[in-house]
Amino acid sequence: MKLVKLRNMSEKIIEVKKLKKCFGSLCAVNEVSFSVEKGEIFAFLGPNGAGKSTTIKILTTLLHPTSGEILMNGHDPSKDPDAVRKSFGIIFQDPSLDDDLTAYENLEFHGVLYDVPKEIRKERIEQLLKITELWDRKDNLVKQFSGGMKRRLEIARGLLHHPKIFFLDEPTIGLDPQTRNHIWSYILELNKKEGITVFFTTHYMEEAAKYAGRIAVIDHGKIVAQGTAGDLKKKTKSKTLEDAFIKLTGHGIRDEGASSVERLKSAMRHMGRR
């Protein structure tokens, strides 16, 4: 009885087992396993090319995995993509706006696609455009926007509907600190009030330390550590998360833990340098 209750209390909304995705001979995601609990804020950290976006693309039905098991809100993205798509919202790392539409039209399009009722849609679009300081530019075509403005618009769009899970792939990249703070407080409020699970990636370590309940660090397609920021610091005997991250993914640590083949490769690289 107790076991059952415990399980219900910590319900897993994302479950990934031995997920693998190879592009030809390169395995961008290599037997990754992790799970995210309902209502949790989960950070997925890793150096460039580690496999973060690829993992997100698989979870969000944009890519088919090579192998592995996934449950998103109880559904398998490759078997029942439509059910999975009803459960999440996403802010992509790469641009995804329609440049030939206005800011408002981009949001309106999203709102209709995600079935946000008309009244709420109107209200929220205004609120989000004000938070992102784009309200007075709402009728401008997106192609006239600066990079930062486009990013802010994408965030506003991503937050327009309230799903069960938010995927935020480097959401605050290229934004000024004020905007970053505004956006994070909005996300935290949604997380608290509506219990929306947040899965995000970032290269700003202070963001992860501040907002994430748990963190997974991925490097070369493999998860190298998981836990709270405190756990990771303890494990690596570091003072800051940034130090922990560098120790986990930096060359020194990686070479120690690497397979013999990788060690050989790295040795050859060192020789090449000399």
Partner: protein
């Protein structure tokens, strides 16, 4: 149509984008106008001498079909642009069955193609084209069917392509043959066997014949056959296009 439906908003997007790109409209009209003037006036006398009647009357439905063929195929192929500019992802992860997304896009592409066809028709009026106004709605139905067919075909092809590399191939090996190996430019009743067969297998011929029948009263296959053949092909290509579009990975 329900203003809050995904199909509608996707349709609206295609139509808005079209009316916003003036250069696209003008660019897409240049070629048909050139064809109308050069071929219409150039071959007119020969055609009349050979007992074919008024060549401009014969030619206009073919040129309308040409502009629909181009506009619609490009609307379909826009999927590749959307993929390159990243916008496609936004529609691919939406909680809407992808078949509906494809349907909205295709209806939008077909609408734009009909508008383009009607503009070509206006130009042809300036050049002296005369037609049966009462039958205009029937001609528009055929325009719309051609629009659906080639938008869906463009979408199907684009769903299989990663980038714009194959674009030239599509023009040279799909659009041009479809146009030239049809009844758009010449009557097909006295063609050598193989060519006649090809033109009769070409779905564009049925659209041209339908428009020609409606506008000028001269039809080779008959409006009913034209409509039936086109309707069946449209449904088939839309199903294939929908299936391929649903399978896109990004």
């Amino acid at each position: 149509m329900n203003m809050n439906s995904p199909v509608y908003i996707l349709w609206l997007r295609q139509v808005k984008k079209y009316f916003r790109s003036r250069s696209r409209i003008v660019g897409a009209l240049g070629q048909p106008t050139l064809f109308l003037i050069a071929l219409g006036f150039g071959f007119g006398p020969v055609f009349a001498k050979a007992g074919g009647g008024n060549y401009l009357e014969f030619l206009v439905p073919g040129i309308i079909a040409l502009s629909i063929l181009f506009t619609a195929t490009f609307s379909g192929i826009e999927v590749i642009w959307d993929r390159q500019f990243g916008f496609l992802k936004e529609t691919l992860v939406a909680p809407v069955n992808r078949t509906k997304i494809m349907l909205g896009r295709t209806l939008g592409g077909a609408t734009v193609a009909v508008v383009q066809g009607l503009i070509v028709m206006l130009i042809s009026l300036l050049l002296g084209f005369q037609f049966n106004v009462l039958m205009l709605p029937v001609a528009v139905v055929f325009m719309f069917l051609l629009g659906l067919l080639f938008t869906a075909l463009g979408t199907a092809i684009a769903s299989l392509m990663e980038d714009m590399q194959g674009f030239q191939l599509i023009i040279n090996f799909l659009i041009m043959p479809l146009f030239f190996l049809s009844n758009a430019l010449f009557p097909v009743d006295n063609l050598p066997g193989p060519l006649a067969a090809v033109t009769q297998l070409n779905p564009l011929s049925y659209g041209v014949d339908g428009m020609r029948g409606a506008l000028t009263g001269v039809s080779q296959f008959g409006l009913f056959l034209d409509f039936s053949v086109l309707a069946v092909i449209v449904i088939a290509i839309m199903l294939i296009g929908g299936k391929l579009f649903s399978k896109i990975q990004a």
